[in-house]
Homo-oligomer: 274 residues x 2
Amino acid sequence: MQRSVFFLSDRTGITAEALGHSLLTQFEGIEFDQVTLPFIDSREKAYQAIERINEAARVDGVKPLLFSTLINSELRELVAEKSVGLMFDFFDTFINPLELELGRMSSHAVGRSHGMGTYAQYKARIDAVNFALSNDDGVSTRGFPQADIILVGVSRSGKTPTCLYLALQYGIRAANYPLTEEDLDSHRLPAALHPFRQHLFGLTIDPGRLQQIRNERRANSRYSSLQQCQTEIREVETIYRKEKIPYLDTSTVSIEEIATTILLHSGLQRRIPR
Amino acid sequence: MQRSVFFLSDRTGITAEALGHSLLTQFEGIEFDQVTLPFIDSREKAYQAIERINEAARVDGVKPLLFSTLINSELRELVAEKSVGLMFDFFDTFINPLELELGRMSSHAVGRSHGMGTYAQYKARIDAVNFALSNDDGVSTRGFPQADIILVGVSRSGKTPTCLYLALQYGIRAANYPLTEEDLDSHRLPAALHPFRQHLFGLTIDPGRLQQIRNERRANSRYSSLQQCQTEIREVETIYRKEKIPYLDTSTVSIEEIATTILLHSGLQRRIPR
């Protein structure tokens, strides 16, 4: 059985996708054919959306599910009335009770979420991305005094994507520093990191998973052998414990979860608003 | 007037934040004190959340607003009953009508959204990030034959953050190539890009905004002069039109909006699910 799903938005559709997806993942065994229709900001685009929805209904023989964050009430009502889809309206459902509680009308202005925001916010975000790129993989530690957080861990434990995500999502200036075999053999934190001890956060990972990841990069090498991965992980965790560095096992968590955990644990303030 | 707002989640809270924020931005003139409480996955953590909410209510003298994507119904009900906050329940509101329409019960399983997904999905994402890093800023064009999309534009027009966002959010392999003064003077696409013409997407930007951004980097230089920015933008747009390269003005749009527009325009399929 196939069921078409449409994510409808005045803007990017990212919020509609995220919430719709978290609802759909509760239903196993149904094949959802998911389509995002972003930037529905005119009657013309609303009619195009209606046409696609109704066509999908004809093909499937069942009502498509519509997850909408449409803010423009005229366009929202147009889609709800003229399409045969079943609308789950993430905006309209909550805006009225919210108006009631706050004692004022909403502005119904489109484009405030995921919009440009102020130039200062844009700049905070871009600066954080550039910071992550300039302070990646231990290439340079010159920026470390300006870092909000410095991720440490063995090669391929997830440091770089996490730093980039922290930058893009939260505007956090995140550096990272790989702990090499030499560092691990010494059973000590590298001297370069001593001044920044309070800003360190460690990543660790299941040795089997690490082997799998490293094998994609350099197959059948010492680097990607299970024994090497086991040794490195054992030693890096010993250093974390000895040096009292907070750390997280990234084996079964997403980049979003790693980043959120670091934010929560460190108490860091995001530089770009929600 | 201050109003406390809590985003409550079993997992990262990112979805609750996004939808809650898009609702709150409809109300100007109210100062919202926003706190995210992620990973509420035990009765103990639920009670800690209740305590924070009730404390905020005492301080503010008004009910805090709670935006929740809590999936665990026991914890959700605990917070709704024991806290004095007003709950906007993004999960519970929609799961019942969805069960009704789909004709089956939901699994109420936590952690499927923003979770690890399969190893294949994780790998697609990490590979896309690595691809963006290896094919950034024209350093190398060796990966271009594998690129899903190649962003072109003058220095500081937003190419790198957009590539990284496309990688993290969609698993898209995005390269970028800066169009230099030399390229612009020749009024032609650089030869290195000719084989990839079908995969090019141009970025442009308001010259005044470009000057502002460049000035942060190299103040009072020729590079950041308004005249230089105006000339480069005029010439780059001429090339886009002449070579029929689709392009987007990034001056007033967010990275999310640029990325979504590129996805929509190019018809590229995301490599990681919603």
